[in-house]
C-alpha cells in the first residue's frame, strides 16, 4: 500500500473527487489547475517509479492494496503490478494526459459543464492507470470498463446533439461487445488455471491445451478489437469524434484505444500457446490497418481522417502483436501516442481557430495564420508518414521488419498501408495548410487566430517527442533501449532471431520509399483540388458500407425482433398461453355451471347417490 505506484493511480482519482467536492461555483482556472496538477503529479510519480524500477533487479513489483473479491477459490486482490510494460504505458499515459489536460483548460473555455469535463478526464486517467497497472485480469477489466464509460460520457459530452448522444452510446455498445470477449477470456482462463492474477496465469499458461489457448486468445482478441477499434468492431471510433477534440486526442488516439494492444501484449504468454490465435491477430491487424487506411483517404472531416488513421495505426500494432513483436508494438504505441496526440491537438487548434469547422473542404492555406501549430503539425505529419528520422519511421520500421520475417504477404499489405498512410496524411496536410484559402465563409472574413499558449505548449512538447521519440528504441544509440527495458516482461516468450543487417537496411529503404510515394502522390493530386469524386470513392467514404452492413444484419433484425417480442410474443404468445388456460377454464366452468341447478335437494340427492355408489363399492369389495 505504501508504494509510490499507489500514488500514480490515486492522484487522478483524488483530482476527480476534489473537483466533485469543490462544487459548481469555483472558477475555471481552479478547476483546470487542480485537474492538470493531479495528472502531472501522477506523471511525476510515474517517473519516480520508473527510476526505482530501473534499480530493481527483478523489474517486477507487486503492490497489494486490499483484498477485493474473495470467494472460495476465487481471489481477486486489488493489487498493482509494476513492471517495465506497465510503467512504459503509465509514462506516456500520464505524460500525454497531463499535456492534454493543460491543452483542454483553454480549449474547453466557457463550456457549460467545464468542471464535469475535467472530472471525466481525471476519472478517465484513473481508469486507464488501473487498467495498465492492475495485477490481475479483473482489475484490468475495472479500468477497461472505466475508460469505456468515461469515453461514453466524454463522447456524448454535447448530449443535446443527437449525433453526440448516439455516438457515445455506439462507442459504449461496441466496447461492450468486445467486453463480452474479454469476460469470456477471463472465464476460460480461470476455469483452466484457477487464477486470474497475471503472474500466476503466466506461470500456468503452459498447461493450457492448444484449443483452450486458441479460444482464449480469440476471446481476448474480441475484447481488444472492441477497445482498440479493430475489425470487426472498429467503426465506433470515427463516430466518437463527436466528442471534444482533446478527448479525441487523449482517448481515441493516445491512450484508451491502445488498451486492446496492451492487453494482448500483457497476455503474451497465453498468446504464445496458440500460433493459430496469433495468426488470426496478425490477420485482423493487417486487414484493419489496410481497410482503415483506404477509408481515411476518402474522409472529408479532419477528425474522421485522423480517427481512421488511428484505427489503421493500431492495426499495425495488432499486426505486430500477432507476429510476436511485442516490443515493436509497444514502441509503435508510444510513438503513435506522441504524434497522434500531436495531430489531434493540432487539428484541435485548427478547428479552434476556425470556430469549430472540421470540413477539410473549408480549410487550406492555414500555414500562414497558425505559426506555431503549423510547424508542429509538419513534424507530426512526417512522423506518421514514416519519414526518417522522426519517431514514426523507426517504430513502423520495427514493425514492418518483424512482419517481414514472419509473413511476406502481410508485410506486403503493411507496406501498401504505409503508402496509403503517407498519402492520406499528406492529403490532410495539404488540404489544411497548403493550397487556397477556403475558410473565409466560416470565419466570416476574419483571419484565423493562433491558439493561446496553454494550447500550443503541449503542441511543442509533443512535437519534440514525436521528432526524437525514435531514439527510444535504437539499440545502437544507447544501452537501455525500450526493447531491452521491456525484455523481462516478455521473458517468457522465445525471442525472435535477429535479422541480418542487410535485410534490415533493405526494409528501411522500402519503408522510406513507401512514405515518399505516398507523400508525392498526395501532393500531386491535392495541391490544387479540394474535392474529387474520383479519389474519394463513395464506397470508401461510406466506410466500405460497414455500418450499413451491421445495421442490415444485426441492428434492424434485432430491433424488429425486439418489437415483435414486445408486441406479439409477450402479449399474445406467453401471456396468451396463460390467458388461454384461464379462458378454457372459464369455458368449461360455464359448461359445468349448468349442473348447478340451484335446487339444494338435487345436490343432496347427488350426495346420496354418490354415497350409495361408495357403499356399493365397499360391499362389493368386502364380499
Amino acid at each position: 500500500m505504501g508504494h509510490l505506484a499507489t500514488l500514480i493511480v490515486l492522484l487522478p482519482l483524488v483530482g476527480a473527487l476534489a473537483l466533485w467536492l469543490l462544487g459548481g461555483r469555483v472558477s475555471e482556472r481552479l478547476v483546470g489547475s487542480v485537474a492538470t496538477t493531479a495528472v502531472a503529479a501522477s506523471f511525476a510519480a510515474t517517473v519516480a517509479v520508473t527510476l526505482s524500477l530501473l534499480h530493481d533487479r527483478h523489474r517486477e513489483i507487486t503492490v497489494h492494496l486490499f483484498n477485493w473479491i474473495p470467494v472460495g477459490p476465487l481471489h481477486v486482490p486489488a493489487a498493482l503490478l509494476v513492471d517495465p510494460l506497465s510503467v512504459t504505458m503509465c509514462l506516456f499515459v500520464t505524460g500525454i494526459s497531463a499535456l492534454i489536460h493543460l491543452y483542454s483548460t483553454a480549449y474547453m473555455h466557457g463550456e457549460r459543464d467545464y468542471r464535469k469535463f475535467f472530472i471525466y478526464l481525471n476519472l478517465f486517467v484513473f481508469s486507464m492507470l488501473v487498467l495498465v497497472l492492475a495485477n490481475n485480469l479483473v482489475l484490468t477489466f475495472v479500468g477497461w470498463e472505466g475508460v469505456g464509460v468515461c469515453s461514453y460520457w466524454l463522447v456524448s459530452f454535447y448530449f443535446e446533439r443527437p449525433a453526440a448522444a448516439s455516438a457515445g452510446k455506439k462507442a459504449f455498445l461496441y466496447n461492450r461487445v468486445g467486453d463480452v470477449g474479454l469476460l469470456l477470456a477471463m472465464f476460460l482462463i480461470f476455469s483452466r488455471t484457477h487464477t486470474l492474477t497475471y503472474l500466476n496465469v503466466f506461470h500456468r499458461a503452459g498447461t493450457l491445451s492448444p484449443t483452450v489457448a486458441t479460444l482464449a486468445v480469440l476471446a481476448l482478441l474480441l475484447g481488444a478489437t472492441g477497445k482498440s477499434a479493430q475489425i470487426p468492431l472498429f467503426n465506433w471510433l470515427p463516430d466518437a469524434m463527436e466528442g471534444p477534440t482533446p478527448v479525441s486526442a487523449l482517448i481515441h488516439a493516445a491512450t484508451m484505444v491502445t488498451a486492446g494492444v496492451y492487453l494482448l501484449v500483457r497476455m503474451s504468454p497465453v498468446l504464445a500457446m496458440s500460433p493459430d490465435g496469433r495468426a488470426t491477430i496478425a490477420l485482423i491487424g493487417a486487414a484493419t490497418a489496410f481497410v482503415a487506411a483506404t477509408i481515411a483517404t476518402a474522409q472529408r472531416d479532419i477528425k474522421k481522417v485522423l480517427a481512421f488513421s488511428t484505427v489503421s495505426q493500431i492495426g499495425y500494432m495488432v499486426l505486430a502483436v500477432g507476429v510476436g513483436a511485442y516490443a515493436a508494438a509497444i514502441f509503435l504505441m508510444v510513438a503513435h501516442a506522441f504524434y497522434k496526440a500531436l495531430l489531434f491537438l493540432g487539428a484541435g487548434s485548427v478547428i479552434h481557430s476556425l470556430g469549430g469547422e472540421q470540413d477539410l473542404g473549408r480549410m487550406g492555406a492555414l500555414a500562414r495564420y497558425l505559426p506555431l501549430t503549423y510547424p508542429t503539425f509538419v513534424v507530426a505529419w512526417l512522423a506518421i508518414s514514416g519519414v526518417p528520422p522522426f519517431a514514426g519511421f523507426f517504430a513502423k520500421g520495427d514493425v514492418l521488419t518483424e512482419v517481414y520475417r514472419h509473413n511476406r504477404i502481410l508485410w506486403a499489405l503493411a507496406v501498401l498501408t504505409a503508402v496509403l498512410t503517407a498519402y492520406y496524411m499528406s492529403r490532410l496536410f495539404v488540404l489544411t495548410f497548403r493550397g487556397r484559402e477556403r475558410f473565409r465563409e466560416v470565419t466570416h472574413g476574419h483571419d484565423p487566430h493562433e491558439s493561446p499558449w496553454v494550447m500550443t505548449v503541449p503542441l511543442v512538447v509533443l512535437a519534440v517527442l514525436a521528432a526524437v521519440g525514435g531514439v527510444l528504441n535504437l539499440p545502437w544509440a544507447h544501452a537501455n533501449s525500450l526493447a531491452g527495458f521491456l525484455t523481462p516482461t516478455f521473458g517468457y516468450v522465445t525471442p525472435v532471431a535477429a535479422a541480418s543487417s542487410l535485410t534490415a537496411w533493405g526494409l528501411a529503404v522500402v519503408d522510406v520509399a513507401a512514405a515518399i510515394i505516398g507523400v508525392v502522390a498526395a501532393y500531386s493530386i491535392w495541391r490544387d483540388r479540394s474535392a474529387s469524386v474520383r479519389y474519394e470513392s463513395p464506397f470508401l467514404a461510406r466506410v466500405w458500407h460497414w455500418d450499413d452492413g451491421y445495421d442490415a444484419v444485426i441492428g434492424r433484425p434485432l430491433t424488429r425482433a425486439a418489437r415483435v417480442a414486445n408486441d406479439v410474443v409477450e402479449p399474445r404468445i406467453i401471456d396468451g398461453a396463460v390467458t388461454g388456460v384461464a379462458v378454457s377454464l372459464r369455458r368449461s366452468a360455464e359448461g359445468l355451471r349448468k349442473a348447478q341447478s340451484g335446487f339444494a335437494r338435487q345436490y343432496a340427492l347427488a350426495m346420496v347417490l354418490g354415497l350409495s355408489v361408495v357403499v356399493v363399492y365397499l360391499v362389493a369389495r368386502v364380499g
Binding site: 470467494v71 472460495g72 470498463e145 472505466g146 448530449f159
Partner: protein
C-alpha cells in the same frame, strides 16, 4: 450464537408499527411518521444484526440467532427462525427497502392504510427470510401476497384492478404447488424417518427420497418460486403489475418480493432436492438464459419506463437464477449478492422513475427528452444506477454478475457463454432508453423539468453508497455470506463440482 430475540424483534417491530399506524390513522401524517420511525429502527436493527452475525457459530453450522419452538406437534407447526449468510443480506434489504420506499415514494392518499400494508408486508417478508422451517416459510410467503395485493389494487395506476388480480392469481397458483410440495415433503420425511411430523429445514434437508420424487418436488417448489421471481415464461404478471403499482409497491414487489422467489429457489428448491438438480439444472438454466436475453430484447422495445425496468429485472433475475442453480459456489455467492444488489439498484430505478413521474405524470419514454439539461443531478443519479445495473466494475452490480458468470462458466460453459451476451444487451437497452430520456434537446414540457430536490437526493444517498461501497469493497459482505453458501453447495453437490 446470538439471542434469537433480535429476529423476533425484527419480525414483530413492523407489526407493532402497523398497529400504531392504524391506531393513529385519524391524526394527520402521524401514522406516516410512525411508519418511517419503525422503518428506521428496523433498518438500524437489521444492520446491527448483520454486523453481529457470525458465520462460524459452531463446527460446520453457519446459522446464527437460531431458535425453534414447536407450536403444534401434530400439525408440524413451528416457530423456527435463524439467520445465515444466504438470508443475511435480504434481511437488511427488507428493512432498507421499506425505509426508502416510505421516504422516497410517499403515498398521501389514505396514507395510514398504505403504510400499514407496507409495514405488514415487511414483517411477513422478514419472517419469510428468517424462517428456518419450510411450512413457516410457506405461510409467510403466502401472507406477503395480501398486503401486496392491496397495495397494488388500491394505490395503483389506471389498470390497477387487473394488475392486482393477475398478480394475485399468478402467484397464488404458483404457491399452491409449493403447498403441495411442502406437505408431501413433510409427510415423506415423517414416513421415512418414522418420527414426529416436522417441517424443520435442517431435518427435511436430509430426507431420503428417490430420484423421481425429488424431481417432482423440485418442480413443485420451483414453479412457485419461478412465478415469484419471476422466471421466464411465468413472468407476464410482472411487467403489468410493476407498471401499475404505485412506486412504493413497485419497489417492494421488484426489489424485495422477487427475491423471495430466488431465495426460495436457492434455499428450498435447490437446498432440499439436490438429487433433482442434475436433471432439472439444464432446464432451469436454459430458462434463465432465455430470460436474460428475452428480457433484454423486450426491454429494448418497450415504450414505458417502468415496464422497461420490469423487463430489466426479468433479465437480472435470470442471472440470479443462473447462479442459484449452477451448483457452483462462486456463482451461488454471486447470486446471493446480486439479490441484494439488484434490490438496491431497482429501488434506485423505481425511485428515480417515480421522481420523473411526479413531475411529468407519465412513464412513457416518448413523452420525455433531454432531461439531462434541466436536471443534471437527476441524470447523474440515474446514470450511476444504470451503470450499476449494466454491471460497470467498481459498482455493485458487477461483482455479483461477474461471480455468477465466472462460477457458472466453470461448471456449465455454454450457458454462461450465452448469458454473458446479456451483459452487452443490458447496456444496449439501458443506454438507448437513457439516450431517449435524458439526451438530446429537451422538447416541450421537458425544458422546465425541475432537478432533484434535496430530499430526493438524500433518499438516494443510501442507494448510491451501497452501490459504490459494495462495488469497491465487497469483502466484508462476501466473507459473511460465503460460509453459508459454501455449506449449502457442499450439501447440494458433495462431489465437488463447485469451482
Amino acid at each position: 450464537m446470538h439471542s434469537s430475540a433480535y429476529l423476533a424483534v425484527l419480525i414483530v417491530a413492523p407489526l407493532v408499527g402497523a398497529g400504531l399506524a392504524l391506531g393513529l390513522r385519524r391524526r394527520e401524517g402521524r401514522s406516516y411518521q410512525v411508519a418511517v420511525a419503525t422503518a428506521a429502527i428496523e433498518t438500524v436493527l437489521s444492520i446491527v444484526v448483520a454486523v453481529l452475525y457470525n458465520p462460524h457459530v459452531k463446527g460446520a453450522a453457519t446459522i446464527d440467532f437460531a431458535t425453534r419452538h414447536v407450536l403444534s406437534a401434530p400439525l408440524g407447526l413451528a416457530y423456527d427462525v435463524a439467520l445465515d449468510g444466504v438470508s443475511l443480506l435480504l434481511v437488511v434489504l427488507t428493512s432498507l427497502v421499506l425505509l426508502l420506499a416510505l421516504v422516497g415514494a410517499r403515498e398521501r392518499r389514505r396514507e395510514a392504510s398504505f403504510v400499514t400494508w407496507m409495514l405488514l408486508l415487511t414483517s411477513f417478508t422478514m419472517a419469510s427470510f428468517l424462517s428456518h422451517d419450510v411450512l413457516e416459510f410457506f405461510i409467510f410467503f403466502e401472507l406477503t401476497l395480501v398486503p401486496s395485493y392491496f397495495i397494488v389494487a388500491q394505490w395503483g395506476g389506471a389498470e390497477r384492478a387487473r394488475a392486482a388480480l393477475k398478480f394475485f392469481v399468478y402467484t397464488f397458483a404458483g404457491s399452491s404447488s409449493l403447498l403441495v410440495g411442502t406437505l408431501y415433503l413433510g409427510f415423506l420425511h415423517q414416513h421415512e424417518t418414522g418420527g414426529a411430523l416436522t417441517f424443520s429445514y435442517s431435518a427435511l434437508a436430509h430426507t431420503p427420497m428417490t430420484h423421481g420424487v425429488a424431481l417432482w418436488l423440485f418442480a413443485a417448489f420451483a414453479v412457485a418460486f419461478a412465478v415469484k421471481s419471476p422466471l421466464w415464461p411465468l413472468h407476464t404478471w410482472s411487467p403489468l403489475t410493476y407498471a401499475e403499482a404505485p412506486t412504493g409497491g413497485s419497489i417492494e414487489l421488484s426489489a424485495l418480493l422477487a427475491k423471495l422467489g430466488s431465495y426460495g429457489l436457492l434455499r428450498f428448491a435447490v437446498g432440499l432436492f439436490p438429487l433433482a438438480l442434475a436433471d432439472a439444472r439444464p432446464v432451469v438454466m436454459t430458462l434463465a438464459v432465455v430470460a436474460i436475453l428475452y428480457g433484454s430484447l423486450v426491454a429494448c422495445a418497450t415504450p414505458d419506463l417502468k415496464r422497461l425496468i420490469a423487463f430489466s429485472s426479468l433479465a437480472q433475475m435470470g442471472f440470479i437464477t443462473l447462479g442459484v442453480v449452477s451448483g457452483s459456489q462462486i456463482a451461488a455467492v454471486g447470486a446471493v449478492l446480486l439479490m441484494f444488489n439488484h434490490g438496491v439498484i431497482t429501488v434506485g430505478f423505481f425511485l428515480l422513475v417515480g421522481f420523473i413521474e411526479r413531475r411529468r405524470a407519465t412513464y412513457q419514454i416518448a413523452d420525455l427528452a433531454g432531461l439531462q439539461g434541466p436536471a443534471p443531478v437527476l441524470a447523474a443519479l440515474f446514470t450511476l444506477v444504470m451503470m450499476a445495473s449494466i454491471g460497470l466494475p467498481g459498482l455493485s452490480g458487477f461483482v455479483s454478475e461477474y461471480l455468477i458468470l465466472i462460477g457458472t462458466f466453470a461448471t456449465h460453459v455454454w450457458w454462461a457463454a450465452v448469458a454473458t451476451l446479456g451483459v452487452a444487451a443490458a447496456a444496449a437497452y439501458l443506454l438507448w432508453s437513457y439516450q431517449r430520456v435524458f439526451h438530446g434537446p429537451s422538447r416541450g414540457d421537458n425544458g422546465d423539468f425541475a432537478d432533484a430536490t434535496t430530499a430526493e437526493r438524500w433518499v438516494l444517498v443510501p442507494v448510491v453508497v451501497l452501490i459504490v461501497a459494495l462495488g469497491v469493497f465487497p469483502r466484508p459482505v462476501l466473507e459473511k455470506i460465503t460460509p453459508s453458501v459454501h455449506q449449502l453447495i457442499e450439501h447440494v453437490a458433495p462431489a465437488g463440482v463447485n469451482k
